[in-house]
Symmetry: C2
Subunit: 396 residues, 2 copies
Amino acid sequence: MISEKMIGMVQNSSAIRAMFEEGKIMAAKYGAENVYDFSLGNPNVPAPAEVKEAIEEILGEEDSLMVHGYMSNSGYEDVRQAIADSINKKFETQFRQENILMTVGAAGGLNVILKTLLNPQDEVLTFAPYFGEYRSYVSNFDGILKAVPANTVDFQPNLEAFETMITPKTKAVIVNTPNNPTGVVYSEDTIKKLAQILEDKQKEYGISIYLISDEPYRELAYDGAEVPYLTKYYKNTIVGYSFSKSLSLPGERIGYLVIPDEADESELIIGAANVANRILGYVNAPSLFQRVIAKCLDAKVDVEYYNRNRETLYNGLVKAGFSCIRPEGAFYLFVKSPVENEKEFCEAAKKYHLLIVPGSSFACPGYVRLAYCVSYETVTGALPKFEELAKEYGLS
Amino acid sequence: MISEKMIGMVQNSSAIRAMFEEGKIMAAKYGAENVYDFSLGNPNVPAPAEVKEAIEEILGEEDSLMVHGYMSNSGYEDVRQAIADSINKKFETQFRQENILMTVGAAGGLNVILKTLLNPQDEVLTFAPYFGEYRSYVSNFDGILKAVPANTVDFQPNLEAFETMITPKTKAVIVNTPNNPTGVVYSEDTIKKLAQILEDKQKEYGISIYLISDEPYRELAYDGAEVPYLTKYYKNTIVGYSFSKSLSLPGERIGYLVIPDEADESELIIGAANVANRILGYVNAPSLFQRVIAKCLDAKVDVEYYNRNRETLYNGLVKAGFSCIRPEGAFYLFVKSPVENEKEFCEAAKKYHLLIVPGSSFACPGYVRLAYCVSYETVTGALPKFEELAKEYGLS
């Protein structure tokens, strides 16, 4: 009786979330301290103190009707201006508040811009491995998501394959850097080449192709890695940002879109995205947290905590005989499965109470993802288990 | 270059919001105290003190990772249980936490349930006059919204017309009581007849028809009016609730769906709605405010403030010669336009700095809506202007 499309969606529903539920069951059975759950990207570093201070300040000083009330569907003007100023200062850009649209997290922002742009059967490209939810978001608006095959050498985008896959039906390209699930940061060289390909194809086909940059992990970069700001390399870039990871507020659903003046049909897109935000039922990004993040634009979670996990886990896994790309950002490690069928490997890992996600969930079988946004004790406790698992597979 | 569907949506974009923007411009020009803006349903009674106390308590006592973190896409289990208990106590129902799904306001909830239920070309019925956004929400999932013509005698649903409009393609019916824009509360007698018609048609066509009850105004009822709880009258009822008005938190985007066990395919719908909440990009209802409302289920805004506005405005308008139905709930008055083209009347009202919304926005031309969620001073200040307007139209 329900929607046929939803029946398919329920059947394919996120393997990651399923594992999250499985983790809760295992924790109840064996004790939380004996389960090493690397399945979900749920930050374990608390929000910085500035968040609580900001909430208290706002409740103490600002008018309750304004703080909890409706505002423009795009968000409070002063909040959007503060964000524009902050981006401009960091990246030498020239955004105005009109370029910023407050959204219900990055997921809300992606849905708003895809609703704004897509006609049925329009094609959206992304690079494997990729966050599996993109498939649902594009399908929400009857677009077709096409995944460029992975470059498993260094997990930079496979630009040769990308170039051949662009067609006159290509409306958008989604990139995610620092990347979930690989932790790779797309290099400036990659971005420049990607931008050139897009420019050439736009000219060749006489179309606009929008580059949608999904940036929930922008602030999580290690070893001084630079994460290029994409609007500076390609004018049809639209940025989707989230405070879920930078301020550890994933449950609060707060983020924004940047729609630059330089983008083709910018004014039309800004107007339509505002309407899309309303009619998709978001109406506006949660009001109190709009005001909170405006006061916390220079705050940051303790990235060093994730960095220590990264170092320890990466070194431990390599020492145990596993092979994986050294991540420069986000909080994920993408490890090569010792057997072709990585789902079998994930099942074997469960014997050691290790919960890891198959690469198939990211359109990249043969690999597994470990989310290391966990306690340091989970990392150090898990390493001996990974060593046993490696032995089982004859890796050491 | 943007979505063709969105181009249409932008063109038809809410007249109410447009007037809201116009109100801001007029206020800047003439001074806010000289503009009588009855255009938007933005509560002017502040959130009850319990909200601030709850926030402070939660920030002081609960773990920041839990308060701002991801939970099940359906919401925190304890919050859902608290809501189920509260409904059960008030209405003698038997809901469990599994029947409750936390949503990004009622708008989010309606989108979640429509995505869950609708196949393209499925028909959704609603009763004119109705909240214009329903058209967009149904269109988001390629359904077809059909409006049952208004019964302008007492603005109870026109059940004769309704019965003839149900077809084998009818998947859902949306009702909204207390009603926006009329303020009418659907009587128990109406509900019983509506339920009987639906039961009969379900049998006749061998289908399930879901009654979606959009209830943001449930707590705003005056003169002791009873607002029947619809799941008790018709088992395929799904309730969409919002705290936007009951706690004056419209910007926070917090509400819930009730999906009863008794509904056909209940388990499938509950599972699919959970997935829909995720893939529509909401992911989950804002986390802090989930926890806040669980502590405020017995709190309520100062309804007496709205009641005084209602009495004063209704009596004043009738005395001035206008004709309108006496509202029992919500914070709207639906006034008969003295001329057939009510848009012309709204334009005339602007000369007196009175901002009111044409009934066409609610599929009911010939009437205008006044939102009286304004200060008492706005009401008393506006009445002499309405008297002048009435004289212009020869009403007194």
